[in-house]
């Protein structure tokens, strides 16, 4: 079975400065994988490169066996890749309903979309209450739910999540991570980028540590939680 996501020697640069240098990693179908790393390590750059929003300088990106390195962003959605962007970036002046609806923009199967919409509203019952409200008026946690729902409406095989717990209250963080796990259990492969390393590692089948644009450690989530270097650098424990 081919890898859900296979990234080989990925290099992404802003002008002369390489933000990601030869990063390689794979995600197996049905896994939750996570990339952890400090601010500016290049986590968001990797996700944007995977979505096609950043030009790749070198390397290849393969999604389910297909090379998507040079596909434009909107084509990648049709190949089963969806992103929940950093800071949520909802369409604040559209209603929750419209935000979710536009998530399914790339699809043409109306009946299935209706079904998926119901499913998203089951996953996040709160959104049913807020359905007609403008997305910009929601709380941070609710907005994160809309952002995830919007991405799920594209019916992705691989879901990229960029710091979904950023700026949320602790209970809401748990709620969001729990939702990630439930989505994953339904067969969606997840690549999660987090600064909240502990939460991410706890649910991850596979984890990568990114430092200055390079992947320096790979392992199972729980394995890395106990790893000395990870503990000192990202989990705030004494070495």
């Amino acid at each position: 079975m081919s890898k859900a996501l296979d990234v080989r020697d990925l290099t992404v640069a802003y002008g002369q400065i390489a933000a990601v240098r030869g990063a390689s990693f794979t995600v197996e179908p049905g896994e939750i994988a996570t990339i952890i790393g400090a601010n500016g390590a290049g986590k968001t750059t990797i996700l944007n490169a995977l979505c096609g929003l950043r030009d790749v300088r070198a390397g290849t990106v393969t999604l389910g066996g297909e090379d998507i390195t040079h596909l434009p962003p909107h084509e990648r959605v049709r190949h089963g890749l969806a992103q929940v962007p950093e800071g949520r970036r909802l369409f604040g002046r559209m209603s929750v309903a419209e935000n979710l609806e536009i998530g399914g923009y790339a699809r043409s199967d109306h009946a299935a979309q209706k079904h998926d919409l119901d499913h998203v509203l089951e996953l996040f019952p709160r959104l049913r209450e807020r359905y007609r409200q403008l997305a910009g008026t929601l709380s941070g946690g609710e907005q994160q739910m809309v952002a995830m729902g919007r991405a799920l409406m594209a019916k992705p095989r691989v879901l990229l999540l960029d710091e979904p717990t950023m700026g949320l209250a602790p209970q809401i963080v748990d709620l969001v991570l729990d939702a990630v796990r439930r989505v994953n259990r339904e067969g969606v492969t997840v690549l999660l980028v987090e600064q909240n390393a502990y939460g991410a590692l706890e649910i991850a089948d596979r984890a990568f540590v990114l430092e200055s644009g390079e992947i320096t450690l790979t392992g199972h989530g729980l394995e890395l939680i106990n790893h000395e270097r990870v503990r000192s650098a990202y989990l705030g424990h004494e070495a």
Partner: protein, 558 residues
């Protein structure tokens, strides 16, 4: 995107002053406005137009309104009791009047004309209001008059809402009737067996003095009556607004029949600008693409019809307008597509610059020697035939108005459908966040090009009607100013809102045409109106539903 940021982030915070100082400040602002009004020559120009026959001229009314508004504003400040508020109104008015008196005194005692052409003896005479020029009496009456007017304004401002509304409605009725005398007089003219009231109501240029108080009372009574009726019967608002829209539609349909040719021509111009406005609304209002070269598509439509329907020497064909119209629309759409290609990668302010240049290129091309033999250069193309329908030649302004109106209705319907279709959502998403829109599967190239193409097609239709209406086309009809006008219509009406386009076109195109006295000051008032709009109602006169909710868009992305 950048446009929304500009319009939504502009809010003025006011520092708190002592009430009396605040009144003096308001008075000074009003005074400065009065002086500026006189010094740009507007006072003298508008003094010739009588709004109330032999009693009040347009410039007196304009000045009076400024002072009245100053008093009203002071009273509505709401920080002091009624007596104090009235006093502050008087102070503001006196200060404003004194400014004008100072101007009169300076005009006669110092020769300002070398730099300020309008500071002429004629101005001093006009501002002396019949008293001996610049006499003590003339100078003294200005502050007194100002204080009285502003006091009146303050008094109205202190009334309970019902009374305030009645007063302003009455005043509005008198002003509208006086200003648009021609429209109403011609309507009364056309009423069969009903010639009496026209002579009673209107004189040769404005209202008759006897009619003004009657109209004021009627307006005030109507306002009070409506208030009472809606309160007692509990008439649902939607029912009332539905009746209002029905009346509006009926009015739009019969307008040229009950008025004269001039009004029909103005209405036709409004319809044309509506067509263009709806085109730009697709580009800017929905897809968020600033386009300052919009007039180019209008020109393509007009020249296509000119070349295809003219009996002149430059014509390539002499076919019916109905055949040329779709060709014009298609060619304009192609121009839109070509136009869109080079500017696709440009965003925001740079897009405005790029489109500005492209728009000018079309005009310069038409004027160039290379295309001169085909398009007539600055001589233009003349002798364009009028369209005919069922053997009836559409020649009168009224019939062309209906043509433009029919096209506008079609375009409005298409716009409305597009707005609520999948592509409309895609445009809105692109406008709000291009990156996210792409990541959701929206093809930015296709959706942008589609916006340019459809917007251009609408403008092409407007250009086609324009050529048929005027009967000739010249390059000077397609200047940057047309693009700016269309843009201003959208901003005044409300970006992305279809009714807003109608309101904007009426306010910016219809009213100045009907108020010929504004003539050369037209763009000054555009400017003032735009600046005032940005302060008071940045979302437009009739904003789109999503802009009406006072929500700031998320600007979290870098």
């Amino acid at each position: 995107m950048s446009f929304n940021t500009v319009t939504s982030s502009f809010k003025v915070t006011r520092r708190r002053r002592a009430p009396l100082a605040e009144a003096a400040r308001v008075g000074l602002i009003a005074g400065a406005a009065l002086v500026a009004f006189a010094l740009i020559g507007a006072y003298a120009a508008m003094d010739k137009r009588h709004v109330v026959e032999d009693l009040l001229t347009l410039s007196q009314i304009a000045c009076g309104l400024m002072v009245f508004a100053a008093g009203y504003a002071t009273a509505r400040d709401g920080r002091s009791g009624p007596a104090a508020a009235l006093l502050h109104g008087l102070v503001a008015g006196a200060v404003a009047g004194a400014c004008l008196a100072l101007l009169v005194w300076l005009t006669v005692s110092v020769n300002l004309r070398a730099t300020l052409v309008a500071a002429s003896p004629a101005l001093a005479r006009a501002l002396s209001l019949g008293a001996p020029v610049a006499s003590t009496q003339a100078l003294a009456q200005l502050p007194v008059l100002g204080a009285l007017l502003a006091g009146l304004g303050a008094a109205v401002g202190l009334l309970p809402p019902a009374g305030r509304h009645a007063m302003t409605t009455g005043l509005g009725v008198v002003l509208v009737a006086g200003l648009f005398r021609d429209v109403f007089a011609s309507m009364l003219d056309n009423l069969p067996d009903f010639t009496g009231p026209e002579i009673e109501l209107f004189g040769p240029s404005g209202l008759n003095p006897g009619a003004a108080p009657v109209l004021f009372a009627a307006g005030a009574a109507f306002s009070l009556l409506r208030r009472r009726l809606t309160r007692r019967a509990g008439v649902p608002r939607s029912g009332a607004s539905r009746l209002g829209s029905a009346l509006l539609v009926a009015g739009v349909l019969v307008l040229p029949l009950v008025t004269n040719d001039f009004v029909a021509q103005v209405a036709m111009l409004v319809a044309l600008y509506m067509l263009m406005g709806m085109g730009l609304n697709i580009e800017l209002g929905l897809a968020g693409l600033v386009d300052l070269g919009f007039v180019a598509f209008f020109a393509v439509g007009a020249y296509t019809v000119a070349l295809m329907c003219s009996s002149g020497p430059l014509a390539v064909a002499d076919v019916s307008f109905w055949l040329a119209l779709p060709v014009a629309i298609v060619l304009a759409a192609c121009a839109g597509l070509l136009f869109g290609l080079p500017v696709l990668r440009v965003r925001g302010d740079y897009l405005a610059m790029a489109t500005l240049g492209l728009g000018e290129i079309i005009r310069v091309l038409v004027l160039s020697d290379a295309l001169g033999p085909y398009l007539g250069g600055s001589q233009g193309i003349i002798e364009i035939r009028h369209p005919s329908l069922f053997g009836l030649e559409l020649k009168s302004p009224a019939s062309l108005y209906y043509l433009a109106l029919a096209l506008a209705a079609v375009v409005a319907f298409v716009s409305w459908r597009l707005q609520h279709a999948k592509i409309g959502r895609a445009w809105l998403a692109m406008r709000e966040d291009e990156d996210v829109a792409q990541a959701l599967g929206i093809d930015p190239v296709a959706s942008k090009l589609l916006a340019y193409t459809i917007g251009a097609a609408f403008a092409g239709a407007a250009g086609a009607v324009f050529a048929a209406l005027i009967g000739s086309v010249y390059p000077h009809s397609f200047q940057l100013l047309v693009s700016i006008n269309v843009l201003a219509i959208l901003v005044i009406g409300g970006l992305g809102s279809l009714p807003g386009v109608l309101v904007g076109a009426i306010v910016l195109i219809g009213l100045p045409e009907l108020l010929r006295e504004f003539g050369e000051f037209r763009y000054l008032f555009y400017g003032i109106a735009l600046v005032a709009m940005m302060h008071v109602r940045a979302e437009g006169l009739w904003p789109a539903a999503h802009a009406r909710e006072n929500v700031q868009p998320e600007n979290a992305h870098a």
